[in-house]
Amino acid sequence: MRSILLLRGSVFLSFLFVSCLMLFGQAAFAQTTKVVSGTVADTAGKSVSGASVRAKGLRGGTVTNESGEFKLTVPVSATTLVITSVGFKDTEMPINGLAVVIQLKRSNDQLGDVIVVGYGTQKKATLTGAVETVSPKTFESRAITNVGLALQGASPGLVVTRTSARPGNEGLAFQIRGATSINGGTPLVVIDGVPALNYYSFQNMNADDIESISIIKDGAAAIYGSRGANGVILVTTKRGKGKVKIDYSGNMRFTTNGITAFSPNMQQYATLWIEANKEEAIPNWWGWVDLPTMQKMQQGVEGIYHTQYWGDVFLGNADRIHEMFARRYSYQHNISVSNRTDVSGYRLSLGYADNQATLATAYDGQKQYNLRFNYDYKLSERIKLESAVSLINAATKSPSSGLDASLYGQEQPFYPAKNPYGQWYADYGTVGDRQPVAATSDGGRDNQNDLTMRLDMKATAQIVKGLSFEGMVSFQNERYNRERWVTLVQTYDWYGNPAQKTVTATQTRLSTTEPEKLDKNNPGYLTVANNYVYQYYSGFLKYSKTFKGVHNLSAAAGVEGTKWNGQGVAAARLNFTDLGVQDLNLANNASVATSGGKDVWGTYSYIARLNYNYGEKYLVEGLARRDGNSRFADGFKFKTYGSASLGWIFTRESFAENITSIVNFGKLRASYGTAGNDVGIGNFNYLPTVNPGSVVLGSPAAVQTTSSLANNGLYTNLVSWEKVEQKNIGIDLLFVKSRLSATFDYFIKDNIGMLTSPVYPAVVGATSPKTNSGHLQVKGWEAVIGWKDSKKDFSYNVSFNISNTQNTIKNLTNANSYVAGKNGVLNGTAFVNGYPTAAWFVYKTDGYFQTQKEVDDYYTKYGAQGGSMAGVAKGSASELRPGDTKRVDVSGDGKIYDGGSQTSDLVYKGDGNQHFVFGLNLGGSYKGFDIGALFQGVGKQLIMRNGWMAYPFATIYTNQNTNFLGKTWTASNPGAEFPRLTTAVNRAAWNYANNDFMLQNARYIRLKSLVVGYTLPENISRKAKLERVRIYFSGNDLWEYTNIKDGFDPEMGETSQNSGYPFYRTWSFGLNIGL
C-alpha cells in the first residue's frame, strides 16, 4: 500500500521533471535555426500521427499531427532527422531541403498493434492497464478443441485448471490473478463485445475462429462493473480479409494412458496387508481370513480363495486401469472461406471434432460442431453494418455409471471382469453391486447436448469526423438437453450363479420434485431440457481527436441493457429396461418425478471511458460505469464503479536517448479501480418468496404439496455486490531492437465488500442474510520475459511467463477457529482471519515412537486427556506402539487436541492454492520446418491426499494405495519416511491423517503441447493448385515431472477415491491446406 503510493508519487515527480526539461530545451535553440517540415507515413501510405521527430544528436523535437505532418525548428547545422514512433522501426532521414517525406517501416514488436479493450480498442503501446494478449498462434495446430485447455500456460495472469481429461467433463476453472472472494467468482467472458451467455460458448468455440484474446487483469475491468472483479477475457473473432481464401485443417489423434501409478495390482495389495499385519499384536485379515491366503495373493496366484464373508471366490489379476483404459482415436476438421471487398466482407467457417477419452469399455467423449458466419456490409461511407451468426453444438456422451468411486476406489485389483462363462463377474464373488467394467459397458448412458446459438448485429455510423455512434444487439440462446438412463446389470459368481445384488441397484431415491437428484447410480430414466435466452442491447457515442498534434483524446459513453431468461423442465421415471430404444415413455411410469423452473434477471448500465495521451508519452485513462441490477430492491439497484490509470513511456523522453539503443521501449503503468464480484446473490433474494415443496402422507401414501418461506422468512434488501479494489503497477520493456521483451506487474486486490454471513443467535430460527462486511486481500505479481530473433531462414523464440498470488482473509465474521486439515476452501466454510484461503492447519509431529517406553511416557503425559487421543486410547484395539506417530503438544496444555485455535495443537503450514504458475514457450522454424513447445506448470501447491486411498488403511474395505510400501517404519527401518503400517483404521488415522509430513508439494512441469510441422515449398504446392500445404505432428501432455509421492497425477486434485480415470497423452497428426 505504502510502496504503491510512493511509486505513484515518483511517477508524478517524473512528469514534472520532464515538463521542465522540455521547456528548457526549446529555449536553448532560439538562434540560427531553420524550419523543416514534412509528412510521415507507413509503408502502405497511411499517415502516422504522434510520431516524434527531432534532429539527430539534439534533444527536443516535435510530434506529427493527425495527418502525419510536422514542422520542426532545428539548428542550421543539423543534417539528419530521427523519427521514432511506437510500433515502427526508428528511422533516420537526411535533411535534403526543408520539406521531407518520410516512410516508416513497422517493427515486429507488436507495439503498433491495436488490441481490444473494454468497449473499444487501443494501441498496445499506449495501454495503461494490465492487459495481456494471447496470440492466435496459441491455438494453431493444437490437438485439442477446447479453447480453455489451450489457454493453460498461455498467459501469466490467467490460471486454467482442470480435474479430469475427459472431453466435456474436464472440470475447467478459470481464474485471473487468484481468487477474489471466498464466495468464488469467475472471469467474465466477452465475445465480440458482448458478454457470453455461458462458458461453453467460449470453451467450445472453434479456435480457428479466434482472431485475438485480450485478458484484462487490473482495475481497468471496472468498465465491466459488477461483473468485472474477476477480470475479463475478451475474445474477437476473425472477419473476412483480402481475396477469396479457403483453408482446411484437420488432424487425427490417439490417446495413451498417462500416470497410473496409483492403481495397485494383486501382489502389491496383498503385500500391504501382510506388511501391516506384521506390525499388529492382533492381526486383522478382514475378509481375507489369514496370512496364508494373503501370501497366496502376494504371489499372484489366481484361483479360488476362501473368504470369511463372501464364501469361495475366484481372485485373479485384474488391473482395472489397463482393462478399462486403452488407446482411442479422435478427429478434427475445420474449413473456412473468407473474402473482403470494398463493400462487404465475410468469413464462413465450419468445424467438426470428435474427442474421445481413453475409456475402452464404452464411448466416452464429446462431439463438437461449430458454425460461424461473420458478414460485414458498408451501407455508405458513413454507415457500416457488421453481423455474425454462430452455432456451437457440443454433445457429451458417457456411461451413466461405473466412473464414480466404484471405478477404482472400491475395486480391489483382483476381480476379473468376466467369469469363465463370459458373464460379468461380481466383486466379492457374491455381492456384485458394483463392477465398473459391467457398469460402463451395460449400465446405461448419459447423453448431454448443449446447443448455443448467437446472432449479433452492429451498426456504426459516423456523425461527424471523429464522432460516431455504435449500436449493437445480440441474441444468444442456449438449449441444454440431457437424457440419462441407468439400467441394472446382473453379475454372477465364478460358477455362473447370479450374484446377490445387481450393479447400480444401490440407490433408488427419487425426489418427486427434484428429478435431477435422481442419484447417479439410480436405475431409471431422466430427461432434462433447459432453455436460456440472453439479450443484449447497447448504444455508444465514440469520439476521438488529436489536438495540436500532441493531445490525443478519445472518449466513449453509452448505455447497455442485458436480460437473461431461463426455463427448464426435468422428468424422471424409476426403472428402465434398455431394449435398444431409449425414451422416457418406455420407462416404467409407476414412479414419476418432474420439476419445472423459470428465472430472470437483467442489468442496465451507463458506461463512460476517456483516454488522453500527450504525444504518446504521457498516458491517462478514466473509466466509469453505473450498474443497475434487477437483483436488488428499488432504491438499491444502482452501484457505481470506476478506474483511473496513468502511463509514461519514458523511452520517448529525450533524456532517455542514451539508453534507447539497449532499451528501445519502456513504459511505466499505474492503475486503480473498483469493480464488483457477481456472486452470492440470488435473483430475488430481496423478496420474501414462498418455496414449494412436498411431503408424503396418506394411506395409501401420496405426495402432497407443501410450502415454506425462503430462508424461513428472513430476508434483507441491504446487500450488494462485493466491491473489489485493485491497484496495479507495471512496467513494459523492450531491449535490443525489440528482440528481448519483459513485462512485470505487481498488484494488490482488496475485496472490501465481501459477502459474509454474520451469525446471530440461533433462536432467530433462520440464517441471517449476508452482509458486505468481509475483506479478502490478494497480492501478487506477474512477469513475462521473451526473446526472439531470426537469421535468414532460421528464426526462434523463447518466452517464459510466471505469476504468483497470495491471499489473506483480513476480516470475516466468526472466522477465528480452525480445524485439522484444509481450512477455507472457496465456497466452503472454516475460513480463518489472518490466514489465506485453503490454509493448512496440521499436527506438528516429532518423528515416530522408537521404544515402548516412549509410548508409555506419552500416554502418561497425554493419554488421560481425551482430545485427539480418544481414537487411540490406551487399552483399546488402536493403542499406540513403537513406529506410530508422535504428535507434539504445541499448546503445552497436556492434551493433544485439534479443535478451536488457542488450545489446539495444530500449526499453520502454508496454503493449498497454486503458486508460481508458469508457462514456457519455445518455438523455432527453419525453411519449411517449424517446431513449438509449451511447458506449463505450478511451482508450489501444498496438498494432502484425502479419501479412502489417502494413506494405507484409511479404510479397510476399499482399494489401497500401495505407494507407501517400503517407506514405512519397521524395527529394522526406524528412520523411514512414514510411520508404521497398521490395519486398525483409528490408529492409521492417528499415524497419517492431518499430520505435517503428509503435506506434499504438487508442483509439476508438463509438456502441454509439442508441435512439429513441415510446410511444403510453394513450388510443389502450387503444382497441386494449392496455396499452402503443411503437415504436422502435435501432442499434448506428452511428458511431465512432478513431486507427487503417492502416484497420482498432479492435476487430478486431492481426492483419492474419485481419481480413477487416468489423465492421458495425446498424439496427433494433422494437415493444413490453403486454397
Binding site: 428465472d599 430472470v600 439497484k637 418468496t689 415443496g693 394411506s699 418461506l709 424461513n712
Partner: protein, 594 residues
C-alpha cells in the same frame, strides 16, 4: 442537414434508453409466490403445515444424515453398539462448537410462529383452525426436543427480526418451558381432528389422539424428572418450579391415556395366531411395508397401532438409511438379554423355565417372544456351534426394524416401513407408569387394560399384584421392565434412565456380551478345563472378560465396552449448550458441570 438528423436521432436514442431501464431491472419472480399473495386461503395454510412433517423424527432425522441412530438406544445400558452416541453412553460429552439440534429446533419454532402470525392476519372465509392447532403441536414438539437436550431454553413465541430482544434473551427455566409446551398442546388438542375424522389421503397428519398421547408423554417425563432429579440439573440462575405440579401432570397423563385407550379406536398389531407368522408379530410390525414384507401378506393398512408416525413409502419416500445392515449390528448387552421375561411372567433369574447358557440356544427357550423376534429375527434358536466369538462382538444379533428377507426384498437404503413415534403400546406403558407414580399402586384391572395386552402379544403371563408379591418382585420395576423391553431401541431408554435418576449407575457398567463361563460353568466357548474352544478367540476381545450378574448367577462374560471407559455423571443428564450460542449471546448460562 444529414448530420443534424444523425445527431438528433442518436442522441434521442441514447437518452431514450433510460426510459426502458425498467424493462431490464424491475423484474418479478417468474416462478415463485411472494408472501404478498400467499396465506389467503385454507389450502395455503394446509400446504405450510405439510412442510412441518420433516421436523418429526424419522428414518431421515431432522438433524440430518444418519443421525436417527443417535435417537435409538445405542450405547445405552441395553446396547453394545457404540458407533453412535458413544459420548453419551460413556459420559464423554464435550462442548460442541455448534449443534444442529439447537439450531434446527429454533428454525422449526420460527416456521410455526410464522404460521401462527399469518393465521392471526387471516381474514378468509374457510376454516383454518386445525392448521393452527397443527402449528401449536409442532412448536410444542420443538420445545420438548430442546427440553430433553438442554433443559430450560429461551422461549420465542413470535417471528423474530434481528433486533428483537428475544435474540439475546437469557434462558427460561425448564418449568417455564414445560408450561409453554403444555399450553401449546392444549391449543393443539382443541382443534385437531380425531383419527377417525382424518381422511385417508391425510393419514399420518397429527390427530387429536396423537397430541393427547404426546402430552401424556411430556407430563410423565417431566413429573418423574422432577420427582427423581429435583432441581439438580437446572442451570445457575434458573428460576425454580412455582409449585409441585407432579400430581397434576400425572393425573392428566393418566386421563389422557385412558381417553385414547377407550376412544382412540387403536389396537395392538397382533397377528400371533396367523399361522405363517406364528407368534412373530414383533418381527413384522417394525418392517411392515407391502404384502412382500411378511409371509402373511399384510400391508401397512393392517397397522392400527401407530398413533404418531412418519409415513414412508418404497416408491415415494424411501427410508434411505442402510437400515437392515445397521440394525444387524445393534447387538444387545448381557443386561438386555437377561431382561426379557420367561413365559411364566417371571424374570429368568427367578423362573424355573430358564435354561441357562450352556448351549447358545438355551437362553432363548421359554422366553418372551420379543427376545427371539428382536434379537434372533425368527423362532428358530441358534444352533449349537453356530455362534463364534472370534471378532470381538457379543455373539448376539439384532433384527428389530431390519427388513424381512433383507437383500432380496429390500436392498440397502431401500427399507421403507413407517417410522413409529408414538404407538398404542407406548400409551399403555405410559398409563401404567403414570398411575403407579401417582398412586404408588396399580390394580390388576388397570394392568389388564394396559400392559397385560402387550404381555399377551409377547407370550408372557400377565403381570398381577399377586405375581409381584408371591415372587418378591417390585411392581414399579416390572412396569419399567415392560416399558424397556417393549420400546427397546425406539429411543426412550436414555431419557428414561435420566428421568428415573439412575443413568449414572446404568451407563457406567461394562457392556458385556455372551456368557463364556469357566471350568465350573461350561459353555460352547470354554470347556471343562476352562480352555477356550475353537469357537472363541479371547485375543479378539480387547477388554477381556468380566464376571457379572446374569440370570444364572455371577458368570464370566465377554466385555465389549469396559466400564473403565465410562464416566457418566449428573451433568451428562443434559447436553451442553453449543459454544457458538454461548459466545453469541453472553446472557446464555451454560448447563452445570460443563
Amino acid at each position: 442537414m444529414k448530420k443534424i438528423i444523425y445527431s438528433v436521432g442518436m442522441t434521442g436514442l441514447l437518452f431514450g434508453l433510460p426510459g426502458c431501464q425498467k424493462n431490464f431491472i424491475n423484474l418479478n419472480p417468474p416462478a415463485a409466490y411472494t408472501t404478498a399473495v400467499y396465506f389467503k386461503q385454507p389450502s395455503d395454510f394446509k400446504a405450510f403445515t405439510g412442510g412441518f412433517y420433516g421436523q418429526l423424527m424419522g428414518w431421515g432425522s431432522p438433524y440430518g444424515g444418519n443421525s436417527v441412530y443417535q435417537y435409538m438406544d445405542l450405547a445405552s445400558d441395553l446396547s453394545a453398539y457404540f458407533n453412535f452416541s458413544a459420548d453419551l453412553g460413556r459420559g464423554t460429552i464435550g462442548i460442541p462448537t455448534g449443534d444442529n439440534r439447537y439450531n434446527n429446533n429454533y428454525g422449526y419454532i420460527r416456521s410455526a410462529n410464522t404460521l401462527l402470525e399469518k393465521a392471526s392476519e387471516y381474514t378468509g372465509a374457510g376454516d383454518i383452525s386445525s392448521y393452527v392447532s397443527e402449528a401449536y403441536f409442532f412448536r410444542a414438539n420443538a420445545y420438548f426436543n430442546l427440553l430433553k437436550f438442554y433443559g430450560g431454553v429461551p422461549i420465542v413465541t413470535r417471528v423474530l427480526d434481528l433486533d428483537y430482544p428475544e435474540v439475546t434473551a437469557s434462558r427460561n427455566s425448564r418449568y417455564e418451558v414445560v408450561t409453554q409446551i403444555l399450553s401449546d398442546l392444549d391449543k393443539a388438542i382443541a382443534s385437531l381432528p380425531t383419527e377417525q375424522n382424518i381422511p385417508a389421503a391425510d393419514k399420518g397428519r397429527i390427530s387429536k389422539w396423537a397430541a393427547k398421547a404426546f402430552k401424556a408423554q411430556v407430563e410423565l417425563y417431566e413429573a418423574t424428572w422432577r420427582k427423581y432429579n429435583g432441581t439438580t440439573t437446572d442451570f445457575a440462575g434458573s428460576a425454580g418450579p412455582s409449585s409441585n405440579e407432579n400430581a397434576k401432570f400425572l393425573t392428566d397423563a393418566v386421563a389422557l391415556c385412558k381417553d385414547i385407550m377407550d376412544n382412540g379406536g387403536y389396537a395392538l398389531w397382533n397377528y400371533n395366531s396367523t399361522v405363517s407368522i406364528l407368534n412373530q408379530s414383533y418381527i413384522y410390525l417394525f418392517n411392515l411395508e407391502d404384502a412382500g414384507s411378511n409371509p402373511a401378506g399384510l400391508t401397512k393398512t393392517s397397522n392400527n397401532e401407530f398413533i404418531l408416525y412418519g409415513v414412508y413409502d418404497y416408491t415415494l419416500r424411501k427410508g434411505g438409511q442402510n437400515l437392515s445392515f445397521t440394525s444387524y449390528q445393534m447387538a444387545p448387552t448381557r443386561k438386555m438379554m437377561d431382561m426379557f421375561l420367561c413365559a411364566d411372567g417371571l424374570p429368568p433369574a427367578k423362573s424355573p423355565l430358564f435354561q441357562g447358557y450352556h448351549k447358545v440356544g438355551d437362553e432363548y427357550k421359554n422366553r418372551d417372544y420379543r427376545l427371539t423376534c428382536y434379537i434372533n429375527g425368527s423362532n428358530t434358536l441358534p444352533a449349537t456351534g453356530s455362534v463364534k466369538l472370534n471378532v470381538g462382538l457379543t455373539g448376539y444379533g439384532h433384527t428389530k426394524f431390519a427388513a424381512y428377507k433383507y437383500g432380496t426384498y429390500r436392498a440397502d437404503n431401500q427399507e421403507s416401513p413407517n417410522f413409529p413415534i408414538i404407538r398404542l403400546a407406548q400409551v399403555y406403558v405410559t398409563y401404567a407408569e403414570a398411575l403407579y407414580e401417582l398412586n404408588g399402586s396399580i390394580t390388576d384391572v388397570q394392568l389388564d387394560a394396559s400392559i397385560n395386552k402387550i404381555r399377551a402379544r409377547a407370550g408372557v403371563a400377565s403381570l398381577t399384584n399377586t405375581l409381584v408379591t408371591a415372587n418378591g418382585l417390585n411392581m414399579l420395576d416390572e412396569i419399567r421392565r415392560e416399558r424397556t423391553v417393549e420400546l427397546y431401541n425406539e429411543g426412550f431408554r436414555i431419557d428414561d434412565l435420566k428421568r428415573w435418576g439412575v443413568a449414572e449407575a446404568a451407563l457406567n457398567e461394562s457392556r458385556c456380551g455372551s456368557v463364556v463361563g469357566d471350568a465350573t460353568y461350561t459353555t460352547e466357548f470354554r470347556d471343562a478345563t476352562g480352555t477356550a474352544t475353537s469357537l472363541y478367540v479371547p485375543s479378539t476381545y480387547v477388554w477381556g472378560e468380566e464376571a457379572v450378574t446374569t440370570a444364572a448367577g455371577t458368570l464370566k462374560c465377554v466385555v465389549i465396552d469396559s466400564k473403565t471407559n465410562h464416566s457418566f455423571a449428573k451433568k451428562h443428564y443434559l447436553w451442553p449448550l453449543p459454544q457458538d450460542q454461548v459466545n453469541l449471546n453472553t446472557n446464555l448460562k451454560q448447563n452445570p458441570g460443563y
